[in-house]
Amino acid sequence: MNEHFHVLVIGAGPAGISAAVRAAESGGHVGLLDDNPAAGGQIWRKGASLPKTARMWLARLNAASVERLHGWHVFGSPTSGVLFAERTGLASPAAEQADFIELNYDKLILATGARERFLPFPGWTLPNVMGAGGLDAMVRGGLRIKGKRIVVAGTGPLLLAVAAHLAHRGTQILAICEQAPLSRLRPFAMRLLTQPGKVAQGIGLRIATRGTHFYTGCWPVAATGRGRLESVTLQRRGKQWELPCDYLACGYHLVPNLELPRLLGCGIHEGFVTTDKWQQTSIPGVLCAGEPTGIGGVELAIVEGQIAGLAATGRVEKADDLIQKRTRGQRFVRALREAFELDPRLRALPSAETLVCRCEDVPFGVLRDYTSARDAKLHTRCGMGACQGRICGAATEFVFGWAMDSMRPPILPASLSTLAATGVGGAHDPSNTTSNQNRRDTL
């Protein structure tokens, strides 16, 4: 299969949806691709009672002339202007048929969002130790959790949102542990006053989680249990105590999904894609919106998405008031970053035996001897597994200060039959030996 788009948007979260909707106003052929079965991204998920903004944008998307490709993931790019995607869920031994599409575009908008950052500490790989957003998503997906005792830990505004939702589902939130000290959070709360919508959200959360201990400058130093989590050891101001619980929901804020921008060669500065006034990246024709340009939340994602959608279709004059909103949103990005900056003491949490790379079982003690991500990867296999370092990469970046190693395709696993399908026009007949003239030295 092969399709051409005037504007192709990758990622159907708030940024991608708003980008596709605004781009479609131009009348061109617009595509919106996402690996999930439905639009909404990380936050506008089915099962959540959707806020008004979400319902409005989803309705606009439904009304717009946008070709929707749900349940596809982009895994490679053979050359500029072309992406390869595979239908998700096919890369399993049961599947026989390749389901592959070649996407050609004039303009590309990357709206690939963010994921949680995990930091290794003793016991973090035990069953029932999860990401904060991760546990939240599983509950929305049907995990029965009523009556369970939960500790929510890590950093970032996500912790409160997750705690509020889990409390609402009838769980017992024993504690919320925010690693940032109160002194950092205060100025952040002040800034929120300039963002009325967010304050209301914050107050609502506090009510929902009333009665829960909210600790600042506090984090889990160990999780223990036989076969699965039984208790968490927390630390605050040099004091440690143990708290028996059923789940630990622990995430250290968000890190952007940079795999596709990096594969395409987009310029990246301090961990985020660099963009100009019109969301244009360093690669001509490739724009970027939402979390990959800076962790700023839904409202900023929608603003950036719209600017990108307008810019990609040559209608920048319509984006004036959006630019102002974006400037305000970017102040919020900086405030978030300062408030939730990671405490350097978190680097010292792992013990020598603590696994850092879960795919390849590489412990902290082995990694300490290396000087770069590539060196460690070559000699310990850290980051070589199926997740391509999605989990351990952000951890080793923080713990050791290693920059990410180069990106190699496929950025998500693709079946071999899909790879076979990437060659166009059957130029190679596999049974034809003359196309294999040089098999004399075949190794």
Partner: protein
Amino acid sequence: MSDEWDVVIAGAGIVGSACAKECAARGLRTAIVEPGEIGGGATAAGMGHIVVMSDSPGQLALTSYSQRLWQELSDSLPHSVEYERCGTIWVASDDDEMEEVHRKRALYASVGIATEVLDSCALAEAEPHLRKPLAGGLLVPSDAVLYPPCAAQYLVEEALRSGARLYARRKLKSAGAGIVRLDDGTELRASHIVNAAGADATGLLPQLPIRERKGHLVITDRYPGFVHHQLVELGYSKSAHSITTDSVAFNIQPRKTGQILIGSSRQYNAGGTAVDYQMVSAMIERARYFMPGIGALSSIRIWTGFRAATPDNLPLIGPWPEDKTLFLAAGHEGLGITTSLGTAQLLADHLVGNPTRIPIEPYLPERFVRNATHA
């Protein structure tokens, strides 16, 4: 002030690392210089198949010698090297290729390498996922698989234990007349300078007849037991010996991790490390032709690497005729992981004036210098 060495080696790929271990073991004052990671060049891209090949007498002699050296070393190798004697099966599609199996068996026997001829049934039993029927194959039980970057690391550590010195994160800027200059301004004096810079060997000696030949590899998720031996098609007896066209061949390898590594492709003038999906596709199609079920497996990574190819497909080992302090250990094309150990023995024996275990003549760099002056 400059340091004095018996041997300075440029490059800690698997070849330079093996040479460093061997020189240091013989008591030579040895230094090895590497600008990047140890084993981070072609060595990091290679499949790590330790294989006896018989395209030419020189190739057969060096690969069989080296394969034995790996066997001797195998008990000392750390776990991280993932050495596993899984054996190779050369897969024959038809009766013509079965004749080739027998020819190959005789050649291998001539250098003392035991093999076993598999008929159609035995092949199907040994590798149930191969297409049926195939004519048969030749099993070489002593061939092995390893993880090259850790093998290079081990060889360098052994060299250091014997007193060698590693100049890490530095690079030779020039070498000749017993003097080596590094990019940080360090000057080293050496009676022997060994250029083991792989495909970059031409950076120090532009006149070397080395060209880069690009290859692609694909690795899958873990499927323990899907393949048991390294499987290579034998089909080349039917085709011309051309070194100008792009080519692919069925060549797949079981890793100790349960992953499957799929090769292989060859391209000249393919510039850049980018993945060429035409080649990948052709390679997978070829693999699928031999192993139809493989299409359902999930790939997690594709990468490319460059082999340092010489016109006769044999490496350059020994003195460079135009400067008596310069030596070469480069140009190992698609077999450098295998032949690194043999190369190191030949070079070290030659440096200390010992007789070499196999004749060094087929690999001497002077073969090309002579050709050039008569051209």
